[in-house]
Symmetry: C2
Subunit: 436 residues, 2 copies
C-alpha cells in the first residue's frame, strides 16, 4: 500500500478522470434503452437471454418463489434482517418532512406542500454477490416517505432464479413486486415501462457501469438517486488508534471490488508502519484476497499528515463516502468535517456497522460527490409544491413592482395579467368573500 504525504496525494488526486469520460459505454447503453422503449418485454427477454444467459417465460417473481426463498434462508438471517429493518426505520423516520404554511400581513398565505413520489423502482445487483441489505436501505426510506408503489428489479441467475436473500429482504420490507431484469435494460424498463413493468418516476439503487450510465441517460425523464462510483473509505487515525482495527476496516473496504479505495490519513509515522504490517498479516486470513490485493495496490493509500487539521483538510478534499474518525475526541472534531457521506466516530463504530445495522443509510455519495450530495433518505422520495395565496389588496400593493420587473424582462403580457386585475373588479361573490 503506497505511502505518501497529504500534499502529494492531493496532487495525485487532481489527475483523476471524470465519469463523463465513460462515453464509450454510451453507444451500447443508448441502443439497449431504445430497443426496450420500442419493443418492451420482447426486448427485455431477448437481452436477459443475451446478458444473463437465461430464457424467461415470466418476468415477475411469483408468490411460490417468495415462499421457496423464505424456506431457503435460515432463522438467524431473518432475525438479522428484522434488527436491521427496525434500526433503519428508527433513524429514517427522523427525516420525515411536514408541509408548512406561513401567514403574512394583509391575508397573504404562503406554504410548501410535501407529497410522496407516486411510483419508485429499486435496482438490486445480482451476479457474484447478493445484496439483501440494499433492499432494506432503498425501500424503507421510500415507504416512510409514503411512496405508493415500490418495485424491485434484479438480474436472474442462469437458472432464472433471483437470490433468496434478496427475496427474503423484499418480504421483510413488505415489497411484493420483484422483476427478473438487470443491466441497462432494467433501467430502461423502469423509466419507460413495458407490458409487464410499470414505469416509475424515480429509480434508485446500486449497479454496474451499464446500470450507472443508463441511469444517467434516463435522468430527466425520471429522477435517479445518484451516479454511484466505486466504494471508498477514509480513516483518520492519530497515534492512539488501534492499528489492528484500522487495518481490518481498510480491508473490509478493499474486498468490495478492485476499484474500491481504502485510504488512511494519519499524523503518526509509526501508525502508518504498523497498519501496513497488520494489513499484510490480516489479508492472509481473508477469502477475497485477489480483489483485496488489487484494490490496495491500485487505490489504497496511506497518507501522512503533519497535523490533525491537515488531516481534516485532506479528508474534506477527498469528500469520502465513509469517514472514520479514530482519534481522541472524535465528537469535538465533527465541526472540522465538511464533506463526507457518513462519519463514524470512535473505535467501535466501523463501517460495516453502518453498512448493515446502525440505521443510517448505506447508499452514500461516492467518488468525492459528497461535496454536493447526501446519503439516500426519506427526502429523496418526496417532492415539494409551493403554495401562494394573495388577496386582492395585497396583490395591488406589489403590482407596481411586478410590472416593473416584468417590463425589465420584456414580458409585457405578464404585466398585463396584473394590470387587468386592477382595472377589472369582477369576481364572483364566493371568491370575493374568500379573497378579502
Amino acid at each position: 500500500m503506497k505511502v505518501l504525504s497529504a500534499e502529494h496525494y492531493l496532487q495525485e488526486k487532481q489527475n483523476k478522470s471524470s465519469q463523463t469520460d465513460d462515453s464509450h459505454l454510451d453507444e451500447s447503453v443508448m441502443a439497449i434503452i431504445s430497443e426496450v422503449r420500442q419493443e418492451g418485454d420482447k426486448a427485455l427477454k431477448r437481452m436477459t437471454e443475451k446478458f444473463d444467459g437465461v430464457k424467461l417465460d415470466r418476468i415477475t417473481v411469483s408468490e411460490e418463489e417468495f415462499l421457496q426463498a423464505e424456506s431457503a434462508v435460515n432463522q438467524a438471517f431473518k432475525t438479522a434482517l428484522k434488527t436491521a429493518r427496525e434500526n433503519i426505520e428508527a433513524f429514517h423516520k427522523e427525516q420525515k418532512e411536514q408541509s408548512w404554511f406561513i401567514n403574512q400581513p394583509g391575508g397573504i398565505t404562503l406554504g410548501q406542500k410535501v407529497t410522496p413520489i407516486e411510483r419508485v423502482g429499486v435496482y438490486i445487483p445480482g451476479g457474484k454477490a447478493s445484496y439483501p441489505s440494499s433492499v432494506l436501505m432503498n425501500v424503507i426510506p421510500a415507504q416512510l416517505a409514503g411512496v405508493n408503489e415500490i418495485a424491485i428489479t434484479t438480474p436472474p441467475d442462469r437458472d432464472g432464479k433471483v437470490s433468496p436473500y434478496v427475496l427474503a429482504a423484499a418480504r421483510e420490507a413488505g415489497v411484493d413486486t420483484v422483476y427478473k431484469a438487470g443491466g441497462a435494460q432494467a433501467i430502461a424498463a423502469l423509466a419507460y415501462g413495458t407490458e409487464t413493468i410499470q414505469n416509475v418516476f424515480k429509480i434508485v439503487g446500486p449497479g454496474n457501469a451499464y446500470v450507472a450510465r443508463a441511469k444517467k441517460w434516463v435522468f430527466g425523464d425520471v429522477d435517479i438517486d445518484m451516479i454511484a462510483g466505486p466504494s471508498e473509505i477514509c480513516i483518520i487515525a492519530d497515534a492512539t488508534a488501534n492499528p489492528r482495527f484500522v487495518a481490518a476496516d481498510l480491508l473490509s473496504q478493499a474486498e468490495h471490488d478492485e476499484a474500491a479505495r481504502p485510504l488512511l490519513v494519519t499524523t503518526s509515522q509509526q501508525m502508518a508502519d504498523t497498519v501496513r504490517d497488520e494489513i499484510t498479516q490480516q489479508t492472509e486470513q481473508l477469502e477475497r484476497q485477489a480483489i483485496i490485493q488489487q484494490s490496495l495496490k491500485q487505490n489504497g493509500r496511506i497518507i501522512l499528515a503533519e497535523t490533525l487539521s491537515e488531516a481534516f483538510a485532506t479528508a474534506n478534499a477527498i469528500a469520502p463516502e465513509h469517514l472514520q474518525l479514530m482519534i481522541q475526541e472524535p465528537f469535538v472534531n465533527l465541526a472540522n468535517i465538511t464533506n463526507a457521506g457518513a462519519i463514524f466516530l470512535g473505535d467501535y463504530s466501523p463501517e460495516p456497522l453502518g453498512d448493515y445495522a446502525a440505521g443510517p443509510n448505506h447508499t452514500l455519495p461516492t467518488s468525492g460527490t459528497a461535496v454536493f450530495s447526501s446519503p439516500l433518505g426519506v427526502y429523496d422520495f418526496v417532492k415539494r409544491s409551493s403554495v401562494i395565496h394573495y388577496p386582492k389588496e395585497a396583490l395591488n400593493q406589489v403590482s407596481e413592482d411586478i410590472i416593473r420587473l416584468a417590463e425589465a424582462e420584456g414580458l409585457t403580457a405578464h404585466g398585463q395579467s396584473i394590470k387587468i386585475r386592477k382595472d377589472d373588479d369582477h369576481a364572483s361573490s364566493d371568491r370575493q368573500s374568500q379573497d378579502s
Copy 2:
C-alpha cells in the same frame, strides 16, 4: 386554441417525446465541453467569439461595469428588486435545515449533519430578454444555505456587455463575481474550471437547449438543479372564474416562447368559449403576438372535464410547473393536488405574482417533472452527512446480526472488522473512557 376532452388530452400527452431523444445535440455539446476542459479560457473566448459574436479581453465583469449598470437602471426598478429580494428571503428562510442527533439506549448516538455546498455557479440566460429575477431566485436560497462562493455566468451581447438589469440584481443579491460566458461552454467552465473561472460543485439556473444538455452531461461530476424544459401553466377554472383573468394568465405564459404550454382545464363549456374569445381580443393588445400565437396554436389546450375531480386528476397527470386554482374553495381542494411545481390559489394570485414578487421560487419543475422534483430551494444547496457512534457494548449486541448479513453478501472481511473488536480489547485509555 384547441378544445378537447380530458380523456383525449391525456391520450395526446402519451405520445410526447422524451428529452433523451435530443441526442443529436450531444455531439456538438460534448465537443464544446472537451475543448473547454482541454484549453480553458482560450476555448471559452474562441467560442464566445463564435457564438456571441464578440472578442473578449476580459471574462470577468469589472467593478466599473457594475457601477455603469447601477446608473443605467432607474430607481423604481431598484425598489422592485429590493421588494422581491425581501419577499424571497422571507419565504426561503423557512426552508433552512438543522443538523440533528438522537440518542439510543446503550450510549448510541446517531445523527445527520447539514453543511452547505462550498461553491455554486448560477447560469443566467442572455439574448433577447434579460432575467434579473432569475438572479435573485437562484442566488438567495444558496446564500441562506450558507454557500461560501457564488458565481454568476451570463452570455455577453455583441458589444461585450451584459444586461445592466442582471448586474443590478447581482449587486442587490450581493454577488460580485459575474462571468461573461454563455451556452455549453459556460457550463463546462463552471464544472471543470478554467484559468479565470473557478470550478463549482453545483450549477443552477435556466438556459437554452445547449445549456440544458451540457448540464445533463456534466451531472455526476457536479450537481445540477434540473433539466429545464419549456415553461407551462395549467389553470383549473370552474363556472365562477373570471374569464378575463384566466385568458390574461394563459397569455402571460404563452409569451415566454413558442414552446410554452398554456393549458386550461375547465368544467364549464361556457367558460371554455368565453376564454377563447377573451384570448383573441386580449392578444391584439400584446407585444409578443407572434410568439403567443405559435404557443397557443402548437401547445395551447382547453381541456373539458366532466367534474372537478376529473379536472384535478388531469392536472395531476400533467404535473404542471404552475397550477392556478381559479375555483370556489381553492384551499379545501389543495388536498386533491399531488403533482405541481407551484400552486396559486384564487382570483388574485396569478402566475406573474410568483414569478417575481411573492417569495416562493420561480425555478420550478417543468415538462411534467413535478411528479418527482421540487422548486429550487435552500435544500438544494446543502448536503447531509450521517453520523454514527456506537460504544463497545452496543456494537457487541448487534455484532452477530452484522456478521450474518455480511456473510449472506459474501463479504467476510466486513465480518472480520466486527469480530476483531470482540477478540481484541486493546484501545487507549482515552478512548475507553469515551466509548463506554
